[in-house]
Symmetry: C2
């Protein structure tokens, strides 16, 4: 297997495990067993478990960014492109391995002093807020950069609440509630 493919294979295996079981409850030995590789191979590609964690976060974010972008672009122009965020979340929820937001899950597991991982997560979220802002600018412009930013943060907040709570309650009602609030504030 080509070097870059091995690396990708490790990331994908670790990602599935970290997301399903959590970071601390997934051991290196479990990753190599599941991936079918030797321990030395894993440490040839990654310096530490923390490095795999960073790769995991980036991998999930890359996939997410692409998927949600496609989903939103396929929605009707105007407000529906914002509502699409929540419809996307419904489809995400229906996937059999749904386990909430990887960022929020991970940040609950790492020490507060871990700057690397914390910053990666914060950056991903800032990126997501910018993405929402760009949808607003294209579909529901408030004619003020400040107002667009504020609205983006609000919709982001509702989105995050929806994903966390649908995981916690193991139900879609938080997503529907989020969508209702979203429609309400876009009136």
């Amino acid at each position: 297997m080509k070097r870059s493919l091995v690396r990708q294979h490790i990331i994908e295996t670790a990602s599935d495990l970290f997301y399903k079981k959590g970071y601390n409850l997934t051991g290196i030995n479990e990753i190599i067993k599941e991936a079918g590789i030797a321990k030395a191979t894993l440490y040839n590609h990654f310096a530490s478990k923390e490095d795999i964690c960073l790769a995991y976060l980036k991998h999930r974010n890359d996939t997410f960014t692409q998927d949600i972008n496609n989903f939103v672009n396929n929605a009707e122009k105007g407000k529906p492109q914002l509502y699409a965020l929540f419809n996307f979340l419904k489809e995400f929820f229906d996937q059999k391995d749904f386990n909430g937001c990887w960022c929020l899950n991970t940040i609950a597991e790492i020490p507060q002093e871990n700057r690397k991982i914390r910053e990666e997560i914060q950056n991903q979220k800032e990126e997501f807020i910018s993405f929402i802002k760009s949808i607003i600018e294209k579909n529901h412009d408030q004619n003020s950069d400040q107002k667009n930013k504020e609205l983006a943060r609000q919709i982001y907040l509702i989105y995050e609440g929806s994903i966390s709570e649908s995981k916690l309650h193991q139900s879609k009602w938080p997503i529907n509630a989020g969508l209702t609030i979203c429609k309400n504030i876009l009136r």
Copy 2:
């Protein structure tokens, strides 16, 4: 020290550690060292670490329930009693040991199959939604039990988003954004 006091002392010590460092990264040995008790004493009061976790969740919830109740009751009648939820959160955020929601933190750390802890958390949240509903009934009644419930869930969702995100971004902006949304939907 009286038996019941020892138990309480263990719970308080474990609670501080679990909340600050997370459940999995806090060891039994650390708890007994910090509490200044013998290991046998701890296991005389609790059958397992999981049992201490349940006591931790209940302890935090009891304190929280009392505190937020007092805070809300001291707010001006009417909508401000609902806004008070977010003002309470601001004071919570300012405490030096703020680390978000203990329920969401814990649920990210335990295996999905752990029913006991999951159900305790779900029950606490249902209780909180009922509390919000009771504020609505007293201060902003929608003349329909169904509508009161829906609104309670919406405010709950915003509250949960605010607490998670203020932790993640280490900033108060999510709480302010949450309050703005709340005012908006109560118009």
